[in-house]
Amino acid sequence: MNKPPKLAKFLLKILSSREKDDAYMGDIEELFYYRTECQGYRWSKRWYWWEAFKSIPGFIRESIRWRMAMLGNYIKITFRNMKRHKGYTFINIAGLAVGIACTIFILLWVRDELSFDRFHENADRIYRVVFSTSDDGSPTNANGAFGVGPALKRDFPEVLETVRLRKMGQGVKRYIGYKDKKYYELRFFFSEPTIFTVFDFPLIKGDPAKALDEPNSIVLTEEVARKYFGNEDPIGEIIEADPYNDGELMLFHVTGIAKDVPRNSHFHFDFLASYSTLKEDTNEFSGFYQHFTYVLLSDRSSAESLDPKLLDFLHRNWRENPWYTISLQPLLDVRLHSRLKAEIEPTGNVLYVYIFTAIAVLVLVIACINFMNLTSARAVKRAKEVGIRKVVGAKKNQLVRQFMGESFLLSVFSAVAAVLIIIMALPFFNGLTGKGITLLSLINPTFVLGIGAITLAVGFISGIYPAFFLSSFQPMHSLKSRSGYSFSGTVLRKGLVIFQFTLSIGIIFSTLIVHKQMKYIQSRNLGYDKEQIMVIPLNKDLRQNYKGFRNELLKYTGIENTATSSWVPTRGSGHLSFRFEDHEEILSQVIYGIDRDFVSTYGLKFLAGKNIQHLSSDNATSEFLVSELTTQEAGYFSPQEAVGKSVAEYSGQFRGHIVGVVNDINIYSLHQEPYSIIYAVTPIKNHNYLSIRMLPQNISDSISYIQKTWQKMVPSNPLDYFFLDVSFEQMHLADKRMGEIFSVFSILAVFVACMGLFGLAAYTAEQKTKEIGVRKVLGASSSSIYVLLSQKFLKWVALANILAWPVAYYAMHKWLQNFAYRVTIGWEIFLVSAGVALSISVVTVSFQSIKAALTNPTDSLRYE
């Protein structure tokens, strides 16, 4: 005889509300056999299955009804417990809320970092052509030569499109004027029309295909259009600009208005002039300019296949022995994975993404551990409840569910509190990180789902241990003993506290090193004196009037010296190749065009030789100053030996000999080694900057004197200036910011950990109320009781120190590798981090211990 399908029978059994009713099951089975006879096995089997499925809705209805009844009870108990132990509840919720808020803030930051350049539809197929002057061909420069882009498109079918961007100078403002509105602007680019097809920069007005076609056309962003034109329609208007900063004004037709570039783009333009306006030979291969090339490939794999062909490409299109090589860098790597010279804007660092993600997880873990510790420590209080529930018939998994539920409920409360914290602290967060995250942008599915997921994870992680721990109580045991129920959770709890403090100490340790490094960077000798140097970008009128302007300035006692130069430290550099006497190889050098006052204005020191004597260089007879590094690269044994050697620029622009050797200077951030630099006296028309060295006294008077002189002598343009030390600091803004973020989150992590310690100390004191009473009656002093209560915790923290050191040491050692100049991790860091952790925990624990030690024994003996 055919039996009913086993699986269906099983389903029916567990799903049916009549699961325990034999008669019902019997009836179903009898009907099954009856149907088998009438309709055949197949049909009756089908019918049986159908019966099984039909019981599902009923099953769900039933279980929900019972769940709801028990849920009501659970929630009631949870709230009662929360009310009875307000202090613990507060610590739990506050700790978790701070933890969740921290995590979400960090995740917001990480998400923002990862979102860079992803708004371009073709983002994964866009590559940047990067240049390399290093021996192994690893990319060194984001900028490069003019001609590479179009040649790539011509030679390789997989290169669908190229975009070239020419930025005028590095951090050099350019004069822009429309009628009476005259400003210096920073984000001025020349670009090809393809910028609108390769990238997603939508135009509000104008035709993207034609806007940048004609020479002397220009596209403005919305914001800039408002600045210059207010509510007028700018299309067709003419603005004047001095992109080359040589005083020759160029006129541009406004042909389009672009939407403002999104914040999370790796470059931002305010003005996009048509590429065809450029004066340079844009097919030229040699020489690096502030010029950037992007290509759109047909698919992602072609980047790899293209790579080996690029050297051959340079041979074919340029010369047999190229002094640079090129490679392709994915657009999406630019923000986080690129550490190149001459980036358009400072980039981020993927290391920080990792570090902060780790901190987010750590803070959350610390908060979860608090919860686990406090809940399991207080288990004694719940033991009786568990006993009663078990006696009444609760199954173990019901209890697990109950306690998990409690933890979920608490984590939901914490999440709500966390959201409130986020809303309140968002402005502070934006200030700290320099991001512009708005409340409105938080209302999106990722964020909501993220909070949901974190809440669930927190509820689960922090609830799982207490749940299994509590539900495993034997009812006999927990009901019989009045209090002081002994349980085995102490080892784990000890472990968790130690772990927690290990993390906190690790974070304190790292923070100290970050601070030390930041301070070091700010105080490091850069080879030149960066204090009290005011820099003014040169313009045409000033160039013509420079002599008079300088004399006027030097009349004032607060001004020591002035100099003009093609570049100033922190703001760009030009690179050229040179051939040195007695040296085979061609060396790439930074070239600084200077005047004779530059060396003294910047406080450079002569290691050998003397300053340049002639006033301006002609091709054949130039005199050069070189940096010490140059002499080493050229293979000279000493600076003295270098003096008198002949030097020639590769293409023949300059030729001459070395007259002096000066010390190395850091023209960029301290992430980079110093460059080897060649200084040549060049005419002022090739110079971009005027540097003014002032005396440290009465700086503001000197500034106002300079302003007055400017108005008198250069009335045509507004005065625009910056200070070199500020500019230098801006280069390390990202690092400084990281340091600040680091400190804030480390304080929070330690705070959360301390809350847990505080809770545990309070709990221990409470547990030992009677013991303390008895001891005091027998003559123990308050101080001995204090020691009794505190010493355990302090031992834990001490152990945590020892565990934290090696990990933190290793991690920070890695971080410091990022800097060309770095501090050493000295013993004082170990001592201070240990001291901070110990003293914070002493304070935390003492608060409770002293209270307990000072209580009147009559009160404590009456307790319970």
């Binding site: 008669a23 099951m25 019997g26 179903i28 009898e30 039909k54």
Partner: protein
């Protein structure tokens, strides 16, 4: 007096008729035969359970048989309250229908 649903009423009548042979399947079969509709088994069980809860029915266990996978039958019998409820419903029915048939015919 508590109103019975149609199905509950039919189930009670079926149990009365089946006398001491009234259990799940026989009641189900009776109702299928009477209504001519292929109702589901559980549609008989819900009224049965409700009637038992309300005290209109009492149950007794039968011996298990191999045909039923080794599980016994549950026999149902009307209690006094069940009989009373059925009678009350019937008189209610008749009162309600009195004279209605004339109206039905004339329309």
């Amino acid at each position: 007096m508590e109103l019975l649903t149609k199905l509950e009423e039919l189930v009670l009548i079926a149990i009365l008729r089946l006398k001491d042979k009234a259990y799940g399947i026989s009641i189900y079969n009776y109702i299928v035969a009477l209504t001519g509709k292929d109702v589901t088994v559980s549609s008989v069980y819900f009224p049965l359970e409700r009637l038992v809860r309300n005290g209109y029915l009492q149950t007794s266990r039968g011996e298990p048989t191999p045909q039923r996978g080794g599980m016994g039958k549950r026999y149902y019998r009307l209690t006094k309250a069940g009989v009373k409820a059925l009678q009350e419903n019937r008189s209610l029915h008749e009162t309600a229908w009195k004279g209605v048939s004339d109206i039905l015919k004339s329309t």
